[in-house]
Symmetry: D2
Subunit: 404 residues, 4 copies
């Protein structure tokens, strides 16, 4: 495949070894100007210190650092939470939800600087390449996409370090790195190392953020969340923006070892991978939202919300954020969240977040319920008729069979 | 509604206050012979001591005690576990799964003694009446069904006790009973009392079986389950029948406070109720089965299994066991479970059961995977083509819009 | 069951035999004032001639005739069409969609006249009672509901006629009426008579509106529909309101025998019924909308639209219009319809409406597509990579099995 | 990409221009022996005349012609029909169902002759390459797959003819071919030509098999199908094998112009295509099966069957025949088909196949139904209780809101 002609490329730059190599590699292999784009999605202030200088030192002509933390939580995470999505029953989609907000901002930088190409540092075996390029296809189908990991022949950290050394590009990366991690305000994921055998239990190194539940406080702690239209709007009585609410809950969750999962999952590209994920604040939020739903959603609505959650989990995981289907599924979830208002007390104890108290102005379960009086709302004798009709098809079928 | 003519009725008898009243009430109000049927579903040996004498003393002409423990686990619980069903995301269907096996055995007793009617002691506000009568409609549409709680005007325990006292029927039941419970080998449920307000946290009295996680051992314990075709067949290396496996796991689960949930759920009859459920061994089993599925099911199969789980949860909860739809959904789950073989180590610690190690001969994730070699099974360059086609519709749509 | 105390009741009045009896019956049995409410949903001008006088003559204190034709099509039918709902694969929900608009208007009349009860003339074996009372429960839970057919002991037309004669209430109804019909602007349904055996084919009397396809013109006719956001907005180049568009298409459909179906369906109340439905204009509309969707919806969106269609068909059929779930499902359909814009030519010929030409500005299939050029949008070599990843799980599974 | 080493390849050979080129091309480019494999799936006897000689003349070392007609209908089509699958609401999957049976037989030939590779003549823009290679991945992951259309640079019929002429390989193919067709016992598809614009109506050349409905007999014809467990087992009283039944119904369908559709569909590879499909006998079969289901399936089962139908349509279309998910979905459909027994009369008239009479021993609608008597099976007063519970959540919600 002959290489496309590119004049200026915007690369999603993290400051790590891979993307540090990508900058000179793009210049050498495509003869183009390279603009670095850094997304601040809450991966940690220490990751961003001096990053612009680093990018320039690697050969970038410019470096844009964009703060996406509030947007990530408000426009990507909160809507997803309303759907109740857990990928394959467990994973709270931390990496998946961050990719579209990053890709969108990257396209915006590309438009601003008049770039004709986009590049990312995702490998060819993972989901993220699909998420980035799926977003690019929807938002900037006219721009070329370069995925160096699928093109170059560098195959080890040593080769990458040599590549930089040969070009006198400074890099603080170490030669060995056992685990592969992704971090943002919502979660940290860890892959590799001992996790490569599913018959190994995760060890202490597999967890990067939360306290080990066994080391967590022996005393439970309680936190109160206020929920409006399926969104957490206050923590312990204090109104907070989505991002602030997440930060506040992360702090509590980390302390009590909340939100650790260890999962073997199906990647979109057809293989399985195994990872440890930590989502401390998010796990508390999900427990709270589901608790309010228990009060508010009727049986059929609850079932549909569960179905929506499965669909949403795949759409978000699979990088389909900017598609009509994602919008349709989320529109359904938004409608269901209309009445999801209330307050929930969550108990935090040694790795578990458990809703212990919950109330809602829209509760279909209500202390006043009994006072409606039997004849007003529910008459036990109604049940007899209900059951007859409810089981009528069974009865007819059984009577038919008895006649044979 | 004039009463139907009945000669001999088989009543599902528990030895408790309600069903003790039902026996004389049926005789007086229907002028019929009453046969007591007691299902042993593992509710506890103490519940069954002297139960035949008690039934006869209450006026039953005969009393049949049928051991359904193994059948319950083997033919009702194990198939349901393969579907991955959690009702409304949480409830492991302990009461729901027991009703059909009881109803079926009750019908068999009715056929044996030549009865023309069936009776149960379920109230008119709950799900169990629907489950019993749904089963009766499918299995014995020719038999009359009597639901005394929907007919009589006894409304308190006091009235029930008076009713028995007036007839000199001995009864050890106490005047007050705060919580309503249902127990079998799989679970114990608790409703009523402080739980009636969703803003009350459960207190110690709301839990009848498992140790409080805060009082559970400070040392984690590990247990190994062997899974074949989606069924637990051995515990810690010892082959066990379904019921025996459950008993073994219950013992461990109880000790570590495993399997407590506190849920507000939608009853089939249209109202919400709140209950605390304890399913110690079952929770461990579910964790193990889901862990093997993580290794074995491909992405699309996993998603379908999740959908099947939602459907199954409603079918079982709603008393539709003996219907074509239940059979169809379970046939789908059986097919998916074909490859669900493996071994799982579960860590038990202060209320949590967590799969820490897992392996399967059918694993799509495998230590040997890497050795297939890049060119044999996966070539990173394939991903580029995959992504182009995968996002083609997005690209065409975006190009269309750009042209406008 | 003792009767509730009622002062003033609003009855859904059709002018037919049943509802003519209901007025005096309500007065005699409930001692209340009776207000007649007539919904004009396009059942035919002849049905409405002199209806107010008839209601007063039957004993009503007042009679309100409300024109709901435009509202029915705009707010109930059009949104349902976007979902693609066919109940049990065939039925276009003509009666089902009319019930909520009628019930809502009836409640509004009740509020206006200060009534404390609502009554309808639906029988106890059908769906309509559930649709009316489901709407009443959601819109006016404080009003009593009276369903005379479930209370009285009149069981034949003869008894109804006698009832009126005894009270000197004039009625033009005939003693015998073989078929039971329901008509509105959208459809006419026919039940009863020869249809009672499913082994009888429908005869000419089973069809009340459309020309027999065998008698329809031997020349095909073509009609062009313009579609915007999933709604028909113009017919043959003429912009029309929803109701006008339906009327225009009905005229053409009737002439060509379009929209006849003969179906055995599952009623919500557990039994099956058989009916012949005629939906001439509606059938043409559905064909046009689905044709535009073929151009516009991507694969995953199309599949979701099909699932949404099934769900919507049950929700509408089952009388769940005024529920959160219905709103959620329709919100999803609305989102998908955003791009459903275009033009369709429909061929009408002897009972068939077939889209023969279709185009859309949002078409993902486009004549210009080829001109994107192979290298711009689609490169055949991409397919190899796509297939490798798409079938990777199958390959790994097969390789695993080969190793055993 | 360097070419793999191949010794002997089995190519799916049709005798047409493309596959005639593939034989010498494989020999020249892979230096391997080429074995031709011809699947007889009912594409027409004329297509098979002298095909072995033709293959040998093109350079094949051997040619295997395998009769798959009965297997196609029995093991692929009949099971699919039980699911009720119409791809995107219309397409009866004629090409999709044939691919797996062909691929499976091709693998068997490869095993027999000891081949180490498989080849097919599908283009890189279509679905069939995915279906073949998906089957190969599941059945023969150890064999190499060669897809010449994705490798070579021949881009026109002219170049292909030149290629053969240069090698003195005789070929009767014409220089121009407007439409692309695929035929088997079940259907014929037509793409290309005027169909390339969706604003063109199909012309007479777009239909290759069935009589134009406008030219079909003016007299309707009736045919009776007997159905057992969801399969057509007899036509007009004559027991027939699946293939024979299809042949018999094709004959009638062709005469009456049955089974034409014109559809724009989403290909799996992300683009849309437009095709005309003719499925005369199959359309009659589907009408008959759905008619029996109307009698037999209860409401919830019918809804699930519809959902299963959508899933199955995608699985079959997408080439996932040999996957666990396909087996699971079909297991569900098989279970539902257990009671789908009966007889149906289908009216054939100018393009339409309409079930006019139907009966089943398992019918839940039955002439005898009424004779069960109101009090035995259905009491209208039951409906009141049913509705109260059915609408209870709506009522509680509305009462809640009224209190605000």
């Amino acid at each position: 495949m002959s290489k496309v002609q590119v004049k200026k490329v915007v690369v999603a730059y993290s400051g790590g070894l891979d993307t540090s190599v990508i900058i000179p590699w793009l210049k050498e292999n495509y003869g183009c100007e390279v603009v670095a784009f850094v997304a601040d999605v809450g991966q940690g202030a220490e990751e961003l210190v001096g990053i612009e200088e680093k990018a320039i030192a690697s050969g970038a002509s410019e470096c844009y650092v964009v703060d996406l933390k509030e947007e990530l939580v408000k426009d990507y995470i909160y809507p997803t939470l309303k759907t109740g999505a857990y990928y394959e029953g467990k994973y709270l989609l931390g990496t998946s939800m961050a990719r579209p907000v990053i890709a969108k901002a990257q396209v915006e930088v590309a438009r601003k600087v008049g770039a004709d190409a986009l590049a990312h540092g995702c490998t060819g075996k993972g989901n993220d390449q699909v998420r980035f390029e799926g977003a690019f296809a929807a938002l900037a189908p006219d721009l070329h996409v370069i995925a160096p990991w699928r093109e170059w022949d560098l195959v080890s950290r040593e080769e990458c370090l040599d590549y930089l050394a040969e070009r006198n590009i400074p890099c603080a990366a170490s030669l060995t790195k056992i685990y592969s991690r992704d971090a943002n305000a919502w979660h940290i994921s860890t892959e590799g190392g001992v996790l490569e055998s599913t018959w190994n239990a995760p060890n202490a190194d597999c967890w990067a953020w939360t306290v080990d539940p066994e080391q967590a406080p022996n005393e439970a702690e309680y936190v109160t969340l206020k929920v409006q239209k399926g969104e957490v709007v206050a923590v312990d009585g204090k109104e907070l923006s989505p991002y602030q609410a997440l930060i506040a809950l992360n702090e509590k969750g980390v302390k009590h070892g909340i939100g650790r999962i260890d999962i073997v999952e199906n990647r979109l590209v057809g293989m399985k991978s195994r990872g440890c994920y930590e989502t401390p604040g998010g796990t508390i939020m999900m427990e709270a939202l589901r608790a309010v739903e228990q009060l508010v959603l009727d049986k059929a609505s609850f079932e549909f919300r569960e179905e929506i959650g499965i669909k949403a989990s795949h759409l978000v995981y699979d990088g389909r954020w900017f598609t009509p289907l994602r919008k349709s599924v989320f529109a359904a979830a938004d409608a269901l969240a209309e009445d999801v208002n209330g307050e929930v007390v969550i108990k935090l104890y040694k790795g578990q977040a458990t809703a212990t108290q919950k109330r809602s102005e829209n509760s279909l379960y209500s202390e006043e319920f009994a006072t409606f009086g039997a004849d007003e709302v529910y008459d036990q004798s109604h049940a007899g008729g209900f059951i007859r009709l409810y089981s009528l098809a069974s009865r007819i079928k059984a009577l038919n069979e008895a006649k044979k």
